[in-house]
Amino acid sequence: MKKLVIAAVTAISTYCGMLTADTSRVVVVSHGQPQDPFWSVVKNGVDEAAKEAQVKVEYRAPDTFDMVKMAQIIDAAIATKPNGLVVSIPDKDALSDSIKKAVNNGIPVISMNSGADAYKQLGVKLHVGQSEYLAGKGAGERMRQAGVKNGLCINHEQGNAGLDQRCDGFVEGMKGKAAILAVSTDPTEIRNALLAYLNKNRNIDGILTLGPIGADPTIAAIEQAGAAGKVKIGSFDLSPAILKAIKKGSMDFAIDQQQYLQGYLPVIFLAQYSKYGVLPNGEVQTGPGFVTKENANQVVELSKKGIR
């Protein structure tokens, strides 16, 4: 323990030149690529927490969805002996060795975003996030209650476990009366693919998209097909365009997992833990929250700032 403290202090002093006792250093490693709008908001939460808690934070992410690379980044972070580590765990098997190593080295670890099913076994102290499957199921149930008979889930990143779970949850929530359409991330391709699909399957009356990348072209496609108002649209995650569509009524709801908190809370928690040794127990659920026409206004401004 003494060695660790000395190492930490050296690390801090070389890092920022300050030697105050309450300054600690946290490394955040996420699987989300920096260009993903969703993870921008997470990072904004991290930055804000770092400022408030006066913690040095380093945010790292592999530039592609690559679990091996992510494990290597975690290993590198452990080597710098941080006072705390925040990780997302989209793939337990690929990351467990690295995370266990951090735990065995006495680094407190908090998982965020994904990893609800894995964090306990790995010795991670706390999970901050939303269950993707349950959120998708919630969206499906909501659609079904709104009278949707044939749903469609638009997956713009097939193979990403979290997104696949959302679609699977949606199909479950719709009691199986929903299909999944895999598309690319190109807006024109998504819009035209959907137009093609709708043309072939004219009974589709409810569409769930998994984020702004899919949502904007979907709204455009529905308008172009002349089906506005006949097809319900819901989406995961928020963007200014999604919120505007909700206010206008061309989109029915967006599921907000408040990922700002997924970046913010773990850093604050770790700062408190390193200061006083206090930490909440169990899982902290940041979502799902539904944004609809009723509460869209308050969210709009915050979304512009990258907080929601």
Binding site: P187, I213, A241
Partner: protein, 373 residues
């Protein structure tokens, strides 16, 4: 066979050193022949497996043409560059970068749209020049130099956007684009009145709301045609076109006979950057937003389209029309799967197999055509 040449051709070509060829035979030797055949194969395939699905209805056709058009715009530029013996792997990143250069000044600083578009095009000239200059100056393979720019431009797009906006998507551009004289070049449709008239007399299908399924031809298709025509003219009718072939065939030999190889190459790098910017403007104004994620892997799609179009990876041989058909094949296959009803889990397998078949067929046809000298 050659004695059946048309009379008019004989009149023009009295030079006994030239062998007279029939138009058909001439066409057989064009690089794009294979791609045209490949396109026919692809259309045949979808005609059989998705013919009754509306894929070849007016709306369906516009649908896959639009996707082909956007790819085609960058593919034509990539084709000219590849004929000159170089690659540009920075096209995809350039699309994201240019899109944000258009979006950020408008949404963050309140500049008028036309000014932002002009800034983006000026920026593209600069980046294209830099790409080309580094290639000819360092003599490094363009594969390496532009690969570096693939990362640099994507990184700049992400870094600056996050720095300035705190997000990776910049939206709210629809309003700024309205009534903007320059934006209208990249946005909307052509021939809308014609299409609504066609719908009224019942020649066009109508949608849920009773409106025509197709309200016009998207401007991207016009851009595609214009750029392809321009590139074909340059390639076949101008001295610059000859220089392009010479650069890719044997740069040293070309230099020795006075072709300004470096200038040609730099110009073509500028052309690909400009094409990427056109692509970016079309998507930004269509979607009303820019995104650091745009254009992912487009550089490879463009190269694939060029190769399907009959160009050689080693340079010196190819055509712009070939790239047009290459993009058409790619776009058709990409959209076609949604009409066949195949589970989209198999999307990439399907794409790969169709691509491979098209290229193999293309090569086979070209070989058959050229061996009958």
């Amino acid at each position: 066979m050659n004695s059946t040449t048309t009379a008019s051709a004989v009149d023009i070509a009295k030079d006994e050193r030239l062998r007279n060829q029939s138009i058909i035979r001439k066409a057989m030797h064009r690089p794009e022949l294979g791609a045209v055949a490949g396109a026919l194969l692809v259309f045949g395939f979808f005609g059989i497996f998705a013919g009754d699905s509306g894929m070849f209805s007016a709306s369906g056709t516009i649908n896959f043409l639009e996707v082909s058009a956007q790819l085609g715009i960058i593919a034509v530029a990539a084709a000219l560059l590849m004929i000159a013996g170089e690659f540009d792997l920075s096209i995809g990143s350039m699309i994201a970068f240019s899109g944000l250069v258009v979006a950020i000044p408008v949404s963050v600083w309140g500049l008028p749209m036309w000014m932002a578009i002009i800034i983006a095009f000026i920026g593209a000239v600069g980046i294209g020049y830099l790409n080309g200059y580094l290639v000819v100056r360092t003599k490094l393979p363009s594969f390496i130099v532009t690969l570096a720019f693939l990362f640099i431009l994507r990184g700049l797009a992400i870094g600056f956007t996050r720095l300035i906006t705190g997000r990776t998507q910049v939206g709210g551009l629809k309003e700024a684009a309205e009534n903007d004289w320059l934006a209208s070049l990249f946005h909307g449709e052509v021939g809308t009145s014609l299409f609504s008239w066609l719908a009224k007399i019942g020649w066009l299908e109508t949608n849920f709301a009773g409106q025509p399924m197709v309200t016009g031809i998207p401007v991207s298709i016009i851009w595609w045609m214009v750029i392809a025509a321009l590139a074909t003219w340059v390639l076949l009718m101008t001295r610059f076109g000859n220089w392009i072939f010479a650069c890719g065939g044997d740069a040293n030999a070309a230099r020795n006979v006075g072709v300004p190889v470096n200038k040609v190459k730099i110009t073509l790098f500028i052309f690909t950057a400009l094409a990427a910017t056109v692509f970016a403007c079309l998507q930004v104004l269509d979607a009303g937003s820019a995104d650091t994620n745009r254009g992912l892997l487009k550089e490879f799609e463009a190269i694939i389209a060029v190769v399907i179009g009959g160009a050689l990876l080693t340079g010196g041989y190819g055509s712009a029309i070939g790239a047009v058909f290459g993009a058409l094949i790619f776009g058709t296959v990409q959209m076609g799967i949604f009409y066949t009803g195949v589970n989209t889990d198999w999307f990439k397998v399907f794409m790969g197999v169709m691509m491979l078949l098209a290229v193999m067929f293309n090569n086979y046809v070209r070989k058959k055509a050229t061996e009958s000298h």
